[in-house]
């Protein structure tokens, strides 16, 4: 598949249809996101397991796509995106963090092993050029286990896990949808400076509420966490809540905005 992908991308660049391609590149064995601007460079293009493209805004103030788009207007950019990458792109575009004009998504669907490893709810982009859409769902067993828990059990579960937090802000920094310049997780009104572990549950509650309608279920927060806090479970549960209440799933439809994004009245549909 990777050979076909490289050939396709080379064709896009050689035919002058695109100016540059953003994807994962092999650099001495390490897989890092980079831009490919010439055909020769594309020999280094790889698809690497759990590794994702980077759209985060930290440490710089803007995400990389917006930065490049700002420097060169009219740039025709190809992005080698898997399901999670594409969902993040759509959400960022909806939130005006980048523009989808001139962006062509080269969709790659993940294979079964990858989807299972990632516990992915939708391991394919909208229109995969490579690979096949896997229609079965790879439900996270942790979510089903969590749903069976009672209130006290849940509280104990989170007190234990969130109590491990060392407040490294890794979850926030790795999140593709966290781009606020002034972060509420740093605000002393809600999160006291110097307290470890951070106040339960306020610190994580900020992230969880702010991402409820934009989390694309990529799992970057959990991968980034050095203390193995099941952050993705928290996000999946909130994603589920938004789906039940508003019948809305972030990242799926690039044209439909979040119910919380506008000032319009949206009545809740009553889920379970």
């Amino acid at each position: 598949m990777i050979e076909e992908l490289r050939a396709h991308c080379k064709e896009l660049l050689a035919g002058k249809r695109l100016d540059s391609i953003y994807g994962l590149g092999d650099q001495g064995g390490a897989h890092v996101p980079r831009f490919f601007s010439t055909v020769d460079e594309l020999d280094d293009l790889v698809l690497a397991g759990k590794q994702r493209l980077i759209f985060t805004c930290r440490p710089s103030d803007q995400n990389i796509i917006a930065l490049v788009q700002g420097q060169r207007s009219g740039l025709r950019l190809g992005i080698v995106a898997r399901g999670c990458d594409e969902r993040a792109l759509f959400e960022l575009a909806k939130l005006s963090q980048l523009s989808l004009d001139g962006v062509e998504v080269v969709g790659v669907a993940c294979d079964r092993t990858q989807a299972e490893e990632c516990r992915c709810s939708q391991p394919y982009p909208q229109d995969p050029r490579f690979g096949e859409k896997l229609e079965e769902t790879f439900d996270d067993p942790a979510v089903a286990r969590f749903r069976k828990m009672g209130a006290e059990e849940r509280l104990a579960f989170w007190e234990h896990h969130l109590g491990k937090c060392i407040k490294c802000y890794g979850c926030r920094n790795a999140c593709p949808l966290c781009f606020c310049k002034e972060c509420q997780m740093e605000r002393e009104l809600f999160v006291r400076r110097g307290a470890l572990p951070p106040d339960f549950p306020l610190f994580h509650f900020v992230h969880m509420m702010h991402l409820a309608d934009r989390c694309v279920d990529c799992g970057a927060c959990e991968d980034a966490c050095p203390m193995d806090i099941p952050l993705r479970l928290l996000k999946k549960v909130m994603r589920g809540a938004v789906r039940d209440l508003f019948n809305y799933e972030p990242g799926i439809d690039p044209t439909r905005g979040s119910p919380f994004a506008g000032i319009a009245r949206v009545e809740t549909t009553h889920g379970d």
Binding site: P201, F205, M238, I263, R265, T268
Partner: protein
């Protein structure tokens, strides 16, 4: 001593605060468990403020705003209407009873209704008992003072 819940009430300036005021000026009695905070609009109440109140000592949070369609800012309480159900789901998934947060529409002329709402809420919270995350804040502080 029986459990006396502490309730933080976010009241919108235009309807509910005036409603609560009316209850006062009409000499209606209601339990002193409610600590009211005046906000410009119920749409100003962020889930973080509610959670903040819960961790810092409140047993429950009451949010009151104008009836739908009567918002002074036209769309403010529509936002509250969307936010509160999600907040409740969030509380539920953390293991906090979502009944500890209540959203009620109280207009400026509904002083009696405000009293009713408060009394009913207090009865419910008395039944639920103290909030489990209250004070989690301070215990932890001592547990790990380096």
């Amino acid at each position: 001593m029986s459990f006396e819940p502490k309730i933080v009430a976010f009241l919108c300036n235009w309807c509910s605060y005036t409603g609560a005021d009316l209850a006062g000026t009409s000499r209606m009695h209601y339990p002193p468990n409610v600590l009211s905070i005046r906000v410009n609009c119920s749409g100003r109440v962020s889930p973080l403020m509610v959670m903040s109140a819960l961790t810092k000592g409140a047993d429950a949070v009451l949010i009151c705003g104008c009836h739908i369609g009567d918002c002074h800012y036209v769309t403010g309480n529509w936002q509250t209407e969307k936010r509160v159900p999600l907040l409740k789901k969030g509380l539920e998934s953390l293991g906090i009873d979502p009944r500890r947060v209540r959203l009620e529409w109280v207009s400026a002329s509904e002083g009696a209704r405000f009293v009713e709402v408060v009394e009913d809420f207090i009865t419910e919270i008395k039944r639920l008992g103290p909030n489990p995350v209250k004070g989690a804040h301070h215990d932890r502080r001592t547990a790990c003072s380096l």
